[in-house]
């Protein structure tokens, strides 16, 4: 936002004042992350500045702890399978939703994305009571299903957005040239909406990786995930090891962001600019 040459003094002052405010706000956004990362390299035992010296001892503690390893393993297992389930079911459903209009479509759509809007504690309590009847509390399958349902709306939304800008004549062209519907799906639709599917899958995985309320209700000690282990750490013994875990999660967040940016760019190249953010 360049200042026009005819700007008055007042406008100039406001222009720079606003710049300062905006930069201040971005510092507010980044501030907590900037605070936590250096502290994780502290060689002392305290959780505040000044640093006593630099060391990797808390990373050593993190990577050599059985509890944290188990938490990472659980997060990876649950996240992986929940993402697959959410992506497959969500993509197929998104294709269906974009295929035709039928009565009650809007209501159905609202129901399908409701896991995004319903408070997590309600989902958690409902699943806890439901799983209790079938002995599914404290099982991988229970957690995977729960996280798949929570991640699926993101797949539905991102894939639908990609499909809306997808040229449906390509389907007809494929069909008229004799391709079976399955072949059309895998050879024509899939490659075109792949970036949308990938973004949706990323969202689903991130949702699972960040989710802690359902895990708190449904998982026992053996199925604690990374955020669940952090929750206990913050509540019970706040040790600097948790800062190493937090920094690892910030790095993962950075990777997510880069991959999604890349996917978005690719998507824009393939189907033209569209309203996907992040």
């Amino acid at each position: 936002m360049a200042l026009p040459p005819y700007a008055t003094t007042g406008q100039r002052i406001w222009h720079y004042a606003f710049k300062v405010i905006a930069i201040g706000l971005f510092i507010f956004l980044l501030f907590p992350l900037l605070t936590i990362i250096p502290l994780s390299f502290n060689s002392g035992e305290f959780l505040y500045y000044p640093l006593k010296g630099l060391s990797l001892r808390w990373y050593e503690a993190f990577f050599s702890s059985d509890e944290w390893w188990r938490a990472m393993k659980n997060s990876a297992i649950i996240g992986f399978f929940a993402t697959i389930l959410a992506t497959v079911l969500g993509t197929i459903a998104a294709v269906g939703i974009n295929r035709a209009d039928f009565p009650g479509k809007q209501v159905l759509l609202a129901l399908l994305i409701s896991p995004m809007m319903v408070p997590l504690v309600i989902t958690a309590l409902s699943l806890y009571l439901f799983y209790a009847r079938f002995g599914m509390n404290d099982t991988y399958i229970g957690l995977i299903l729960a996280h798949a349902i929570l991640g699926m709306p993101f797949v539905l939304i991102t894939v639908s957005a990609t499909l809306q800008s997808f040229n449906t004549n390509l389907i007809r062209a494929g069909a008229s040239l004799g391709a079976s519907p399955t072949k059309v799906f895998f050879d024509i639709i899939m490659p075109n909406i792949a970036p949308g599917i990938a973004s949706g899958a990323m969202f689903a995985f991130a949702t699972s990786l960040d989710e802690v309320v359902v895990v708190l209700f449904v998982a026992g000690p053996a199925h604690r995930t990374l955020p669940r282990q952090m929750f206990t750490g913050i509540r019970e013994q706040l040790s600097p090891t948790i800062l190493a875990a937090a920094t690892v999660l910030i790095v993962i967040a950075g990777l997510f962001m880069l991959v999604l940016e890349y996917l978005n760019r690719r998507n824009e190249k393939m189907v033209g600019p569209m309203e996907t953010k992040g």
Binding site: L29, V95, V118, D210, F217
Partner: protein, 419 residues
């Protein structure tokens, strides 16, 4: 079908074509529905049915009939005018004896005590005594029970027993609204010093609304700056925003605890600058909740705002300037109204998410800063009272749904795409 081809189709074929088109359309609809089916089936079984069962649990009372089946049958016929008849006393004595042997009596005692304090001791005391008697043969069970505890000769306890043995109860929902039954089965308000839930609901709405306003106040300049900055600056700041957005909620909450604690960066700075001589409590109180929740939810305000702002043409504000509007006036009456769809979407997103927040207030708040979700978890984990947890869950769901229906109509859901 182009015009050039149209005449080539004979009239009879036209009818046929129409029918074929209809059939094709119907097939497409069936295809659409069958593609959605797998997802819908999983969601029905593992999402909608569990939620429905949870909501039903808030009024379900059948577990009481399992503990005291005989009493449940006979007390249902009691007219509630005088003390119940001998059959009720006998059934109660038999049920209490049997339940004590099966170790289920504590369940009934706890359940009835929830309705009327004191019932727990009455039940366990009586059960202990009747277990030594041969109640199947007792001639005057009424007299026996009253001699064990004279409260069995008072009608209010039997009124509670009667409504406590029905298959459905509104007790938990009433409790969640700070209401209860009096001795005559009328719904009344609980005494002021016992009323807690209405103030928790009010607090939940108040904190959520405050966080929404804070997010709007901070998010508007951020989005405006993103929308008007040069591409290079915008890319840089967008990366900051998205990095924060993608960072785990727990990491951000933990960071704020460290920043705001007594020896944290903020207090150290304030003491170094001489603004305060001893640390100001900034976390584990309401202030900490506002800061952390605003930080966590801010991207949900900025992203929809930004997507609306970046397509607002600059020429409108310039036109207002050239027509003589002051910068403030041009901004307020020309620019801001165009951002309303973004404000609406962002505010709804932040507000609805804030209503259900549990983790952040639980970690950075004090005991007076907890919202409804916290109490749902509290009744599950600490009290093992699933019915009360469900009643509060129902309340939270109704609250969220109502807000969504009131404000959601005015907001385009497409603007709420996040991330």
């Amino acid at each position: 079908m182009t015009d050039a081809q149209a005449p080539a189709i004979p009239a009879a074929g036209g009818e046929q074509l129409k029918r074929r088109l209809q059939r094709a359309e119907r097939r497409k609809k069936i295809e659409a529905v069958s593609l959605i089916m797998p997802l819908l089936a999983v969601m029905i079984v593992f999402y909608f049915i569990p939620i429905a069962l949870m909501l039903y649990r808030s009024i379900d009372n059948t577990q009481m009939r399992q503990v005291m089946p005989r009493t449940a049958d006979v007390i249902a016929r009691w007219d509630g005018k005088d003390l119940p008849g001998e059959d009720v006393y006998k059934a109660a004595a038999q049920d209490m004896k049997e339940a004590r042997q099966k170790h289920t009596i504590a369940k009934a005692a706890r359940r009835l005590n929830f309705d009327k304090p004191g019932f727990s001791s009455l039940i366990s005391r009586t059960a202990r005594k009747v277990s030594k008697l041969d109640v199947d043969k007792c001639e005057n069970c009424k007299q026996t029970l009253i001699s064990i505890d004279k409260r069995w000769g008072e009608k209010p306890w039997w009124t509670v027993m009667q409504r406590g043995l029905k298959d459905h109860t509104l007790l938990y929902l009433l409790s969640a609204l700070d209401l209860r039954y009096d001795d005559n089965n009328h719904v009344v308000r609980v005494p002021e010093e016992q009323a807690i839930y209405m103030s928790i609901i009010a607090r939940t709405i108040y904190i959520s609304a405050s966080v929404t306003i804070l997010c709007l106040l901070l998010g508007f300049p951020i989005a405006y700056y993103l929308a008007t900055a040069t591409p290079r600056v915008r890319n840089l700041f967008m990366i900051v925003l998205l990095l924060v957005f993608w960072t785990s909620l727990l990491v951000r909450t933990l960071s704020w605890i460290l920043v705001l604690q007594d020896y944290g960066v903020v207090n150290s700075f304030l003491m170094w600058a001489g603004i305060t001589s001893k640390p100001i409590p900034l976390v584990f109180n309401r202030f900490g909740v506002y800061v952390a929740m605003t930080h966590v939810l801010l991207p949900f305000m900025v992203l929809p705002l930004y997507s609306v702002m970046r397509v607002i043409p600059k020429s409108y504000v310039r036109a207002a300037h050239s027509l003589g509007a002051t910068p403030l006036k041009a901004f307020w009456s020309v620019y801001v109204p165009q951002t309303l769809p973004g404000i609406g979407a962002g505010a709804l997103m932040v507000f609805i998410q804030a209503l259900g927040y549990y983790i952040t207030p639980a970690l950075v708040g004090g005991s007076r800063d907890q919202m409804i979700s916290y109490f749902v978890a509290f009744f599950v984990n600490e009290r093992v009272n699933w019915s009360m947890a469900s009643a509060l869950g129902l309340l939270l769901l109704v609250l969220t749904g109502t807000m969504y229906l009131i404000f959601g109509r005015k907001v385009n859901i497409a603007n709420m795409k996040m991330g």
